[in-house]
């Protein structure tokens, strides 16, 4: 299996703080990678580097074999134009902790905005796919609603559908359930599980250990900008080798 996401030797600092320190990670196509770690460990930053919302200081990130954010010319990396980066991002879906639905657009308008603008699809095609996706996340009847009228769980499912409307090759999830009331988490995780079963490549930053155990093919544990442990759930969750991992797991379980 080829790697859908290939992160190699990535480092990044904010000012004097080193948030990513020589991080390498390969996520095979069709697999689910869950990134665990305490807050401030750099896991969200790593995720945001994958679609170049943050730029790296050193190292490379490839998605589907294509270098993200740069063009290689011999031993030099040239930064790409904003337009070229935008084209790359269109292939990478992202779901945010705070949903970030467009508040001035209805649900269906949220889903068709990027397909119309970026993929230049006809409205009929975009709306047909949007309605299919809304049914898939169980919200077919809320197409005309405004984001503010929906619960957090509903908004997050709409946000997932919005990302899927671009038919991405990979999906990034940045703590998708952390801002939700506990009873709303299940619906969102359900949508993510069925997405994983459908063969989508997923990189998920979360604190949901149950989800990680059930769905992840690979779990990565980060601390202070480094990956200190990785492997299948049975190994990382049940027999952690590193004491930081077991200390973290004992606080969240």
């Amino acid at each position: 299996m080829s790697a859908a996401i290939e992160i190699s030797r990535v480092s990044k600092s904010f000012g004097f703080t080193r948030v990513l320190d020589d991080v390498s990670l390969a996520i095979p196509e069709g697999s689910v990678c869950v990134v665990l770690g305490p807050s401030g460990s750099g896991k969200s930053t790593l995720l945001r580097c994958v679609n170049h919302l943050e730029s790296v200081d050193a190292g490379t990130i490839e998605v589907g074999g294509e270098l993200i954010g740069y063009r290689r010319d011999g031993d030099r990396l040239h930064e790409l134009s904003a337009r070229a980066v935008a084209r790359q991002r269109a292939r990478i879906g992202m779901v945010f902790q705070h949903f970030n639905l467009f508040l001035h657009r209805t649900v269906i308008e949220n889903l068709i905005e990027a397909p119309l603008l970026v993929r230049r699809e006809s409205k009929a095609v975009a709306i047909a796919r949007a309605q299919r996706l809304l049914a898939q996340v169980g919200l077919a009847d809320r197409a005309a609603a405004w984001p503010r009228e929906l619960s957090g769980g509903q908004q997050q499912r709409i946000a997932i559908a919005r990302a899927l409307a671009m038919e991405p090759e990979v999906m990034l999830f940045d703590e998708p359930t952390s801002a939700l009331d506990p009873e709303l988490v299940g619906d969102v995780l359900q949508v993510m599980k069925s997405l994983a079963r459908s063969g989508m490549t997923m990189m998920v930053v979360t604190h949901e250990i149950g989800f990680a155990r059930e769905v992840a093919d690979q779990i990565v544990f980060m601390d202070q900008g480094r990956i200190i442990e990785s492997g299948p759930p049975s190994q990382v969750l049940d027999a952690p080798r590193h004491e930081r991992t077991s200390a973290f797991l004992s606080t969240v379980l």
């Binding site: 935008a86 991002r89 467009f102 905005e113 990027a114 990302a163 671009m166």
Partner: protein, 302 residues
């Protein structure tokens, strides 16, 4: 205490707001007295007001005031958007230039600016456009370019741009950074993200102070009378200097300013409603709210 079994549903009797009724009556009485004094006081000379209200020179003045307001608002806000984007850009030189512009044009009083632009010939007697190697392409004496009208337009636009820049900047900063992230993550270019996602949402916070600014600008245009440009106020002044009917002609100008301000307020209300799409409940019409609160409710209405 144990509740009685199968009790009839309890009826809520709303509190009567007698205080609201009393204060409303007092306020209405004061307003009635003021209107009465204005109507019956012969010094207002309402027949002179009526005679001049739609006279040709007053209407020409109204036209000039509208023209100045329109030009200064359109170009002022266009400049304001550019200045705001410069200020928020990653380029430190653009940031500094934008900051300095705003500082300078907010620091110099409008009236002083007007005189400065009108007398710019004292500083630069000739204006010329020349390109090194090609020589002078165009030149003219400054006084042939600067008329009262062009001086007024320059001063009003420059002044408006400085204030508009701050309003637009505040609006853009008020949009959650996550909206920008989401637009980028979906593959929108920065320009598409700004135009389709950030700006429409910024408009909601930009519009109320912008409406205020436009109405303020309408009245600020009255300062152009000092350089003898015939706007509404100056047209009224010309007439009363001849006829000594000072108060009635000031009333004429006031009535026109009030009419134009009212139209602008209605326009602002409608534009705000358009951009309020998706926002939480907008403030309802306040008189309806007052009526609902003050009037005793009938049992049938909920």
């Amino acid at each position: 205490m144990v509740p009685e079994p199968a009790a009839a549903p309890l009826k809520v009797v709303r509190k009567r707001h007698y205080g609201r009724w009393c204060s409303a009556l007092v306020a209405l009485a004061v307003v009635a007295l003021m209107i009465d004094s204005m109507v019956r006081n012969p010094n207002f000379e309402w027949e002179v007001v009526a005679r001049n209200l739609t006279s040709d020179s007053i209407l020409a003045g109204v036209g000039m005031t509208i023209e100045l307001t329109f030009i200064s608002v359109v170009f002022g806000f266009a400049g304001g958007i550019v200045l705001a984007l410069m200020r928020l850009s990653a380029n430190p030189v653009l940031v500094a230039v934008s900051w300095t512009y705003t500082w300078l044009f907010r620091a110099v009083p409008m009236l002083v600016q007007l005189f400065l632009w009108y007398n710019i010939a004292a500083l630069y007697p000739r204006l010329a456009l020349s390109i090194p190697g090609l020589g002078e392409l165009w030149s003219a004496p400054t006084n042939s370019v600067i008329s009262p009208f062009s001086a007024a337009v320059i001063a009003l636009v420059m002044h408006q741009a400085a204030y508009a820049a701050e309003i637009v900047r505040a609006g853009i900063l008020g949009v959650n950074a996550g909206q920008h992230d989401a637009a980028q993550a979906l593959g929108l270019t920065p320009f598409q993200g700004f135009r389709r996602v950030v700006l429409p949402q910024a408009m909601r916070t930009i519009l109320p102070p912008a409406g205020n600014e436009v109405i303020g600008q309408l009245k600020t245009t009255a300062v152009v009378s000092v350089i003898a440009l015939q706007d509404l106020l100056y047209s009224a002044q010309i007439i009363y200097q001849r006829t000594y009917e000072v108060i009635p002609l000031l009333m004429v100008a006031t009535i026109w300013y009030m009419a134009m301000t009212t139209l602008l307020s209605i326009g602002q209300f409608m534009i705000e409603r358009h951009y309020g799409r998706g926002a939480a409940q907008q403030s309802a019409m306040s008189w309806q709210w007052l009526a609902r609160g003050a009037l005793p409710r009938s049992g049938a209405r909920r």
